[in-house]
Symmetry: C2
Subunit: 348 residues, 2 copies
DNA sequence: CGAGGCCGTGGTAACGTTCCCACGAAATCA
DNA sequence: TGATTTCGTGGGAACGTTACCACGGCCTCG
């Protein structure tokens, strides 16, 4: 039914050269006469030749395949990461094998095995495992991605710069007159929480704020978690205006619902600042002001790092990508309507 | 640095058999003694053997790779499709190469070429092209996906059942007392629009409604498009309560913003029904009632169809996946608060 | 008891490319 | 001019697996 795909030998015969010369011409090697090269290229076009990547990989060891293992391609943040990685890979003529691990050790292990069997040139991995054993056994060049990579400091990795993110979040809160924000944090078990909290404390100290005096609630990184945390905050807080810095956009959106349910208004009664930059934040009412992680850039940068690893230029360092503020409508501006509590809070 | 990966020959030597027998045992062929099979499997485990998919593909022609070409992995609907395809592929021991075409002919063509060069066993494609030439030249088994596949009726394809979706949407509107909903539709150029409208008309006729009398606005399939369309609808509509069926969730969310900006409330003054089932609809206020497309199931089903194509059992038919209603808060229930205009509108 | 079939096994070719080496011609140097 | 290098080319091996064929032993049937 379907004709045999033309091989390099067909091209060579058509061009009247040996397959070695044809191969050199097609792979862009320098030691070929211009005339021979042109003849080969013309012949390749004529017979409709397309290089067989399998055979190339077989012989040269380079497959042009990269692996990406993330928790869930359905999660908007990881989709952005995947898109960035995909684009950067395509720029370099490589393709991306995408896998979702669902935070499951078994699935992760099986995906890593599939990547090895496919002989990918390297992989970008958001690790599920707490120990390094699985990754250590991976046996191929790889780069870690995401905040959980902090558990493996000796390995090259790319993540968002949580320290800088907390700083611009705090700067924005302070510039709007919110000097003592409450915090909605993720579960105590997560690494990202510790980093968030540590940086937050540093910035409090810089601004002469006692962090211990600030209200703080925990919850799962979900809408429900944020909703419950906000309810607890509202029960204990009786100030005129409450400002909240949530460690995750979904929690922030849940908190917003809780505010509405309590008969309060956002941003008039409660200001909310999120963290992530999920698209849904643009559709809430009011729109969610948030510190956005650069998902796409993280994916691109991870591919760059992976190329370094593959080329044997191991950076063995952590790369932190800067986050940026997306201002929508969930923060009230108290700096205009009331006298400042401290002098010198304006921009310098 | 890194030791050579063990091959089937290493396994054969260790097990004391020929590589033919080792190959048969490892690939699960039947004509091997149980004793020999066990020795081979044990040897494979001992030396840490992992099959080289490249060599398999080289020799057998089957690579265990599938391709997926969609407009944008960042779009929640397509992410769901990708996830479904991924899971179903993994169930069958296959991996997925994912590409985003961005509705660009050039990118699509380049992705299709990459799939051919990688010698994938088959591909699932949401086609950008209006003509069949590019796909005809693809030369590998493939299945189309999404509503644009309607342009290629001779090819196997999977999409959502828009006719059924419109029906359950209309049923729900009517059951809530909205007998004459306005429509916000996509651009006239899109196939999906025509199918939506056609089915809508059929259901109007069934219910003795004159479709020509219903307000109707066009717009891009975006938040902004829905926002603008809703503003135009509000200008011309002076009924007590306006019900809107939007052809896309993003448009519905944009419409919701326009309602708020006009000083009206949803659902008290305006009821909105969406179509897609994007996650952001759960976070809007009120939550968006919508007809959800089964993205994940579409992805899974597409892989099933693709396996049929690969196996040479071409169905050459269109598969329509059923949609379902997600009820949130964006529809007012007028059936309770006011007398019915028609008898027999209740559930039977 | 002999012929034929079945079963498990082993050897070899083949998949399509790149890598390595050798060869001849031209160019360069002593 | 002769020796040496450079350059373009061609031939063959190699990558790791499966497909194919041939062989010997055992069972079965006539």
């Amino acid at each position: 039914m379907q004709r045999r795909r033309p091989t390099i030998i067909d091209v060579a015969q058509k061009a009247g050269v040996s397959k070695s010369t044809a191969g050199r011409a097609l792979s862009g090697a320098s030691n070929v006469t211009d005339e021979a090269r042109e003849r080969v290229l013309e012949a390749a076009r004529a017979v409709g030749y397309e290089r067989n990547d399998l055979a190339v990989g077989m012989r040269s060891g380079r497959t042009g395949l990269l692996g990406l293992v993330i928790p869930d391609i359905t999660n908007p943040f990881w989709a952005e990461v995947a898109r960035g990685a995909q684009d950067r890979a395509a720029e370099n003529g490589m393709s991306l094998l995408v896998f979702s691990s669902d935070w499951d050790h078994g699935r992760e292990a099986s995906h890593l095995r599939a990547l090895r069997q496919a002989r990918v040139d390297g992989a970008i991995i958001n690790p599920v495992a707490d120990n390094f054993d699985d990754l250590d056994r991976f046996g191929l060049p790889f780069v870690l991605i995401g905040s959980s990579a902090e558990r493996f400091p000796a390995t090259s990795s790319v993540g968002s710069d949580i320290a800088q993110a907390v700083r611009i979040g705090m700067d924005h809160l302070v510039s709007k007159g919110h000097h003592a924000p409450a915090l909605i944090l993720g579960p105590k078990s997560r690494i990202a929480r510790a980093r968030f909290l540590r940086t937050f404390h540093e910035h409090c100290v810089e601004r002469d704020i006692d962090p211990a005096a600030l209200p703080m609630e925990d919850g799962e990184y979900t809408v429900e978690g944020g909703h419950a945390a906000m309810k607890r905050l509202l029960e204990r807080q009786h100030a005129r205006h409450l400002a909240v810095f949530a460690a995750n956009d979904l929690m922030a959106l849940g908190a917003m619902v809780a505010v509405r349910e309590a008969g309060l208004r956002c941003p008039e009664d409660v200001s909310i600042l999120g963290f992530d930059g999920v698209p849904a934040g643009a559709f809430s009412w009011p729109g969610l002001t948030t510190v956005a992680k650069p998902g796409r850039e993280i994916g691109m940068r991870a591919v760059d790092c992976l190329f370094d690893e593959i080329a044997g230029r191991p950076e063995h360092g952590r790369v932190f990508m800067p986050c940026r503020l997306i201002e929508r409508g969930s923060l009230a501006d108290l700096s205009l309507s009331q006298p400042m509590r401290k002098a010198g809070a304006g921009r310098g």
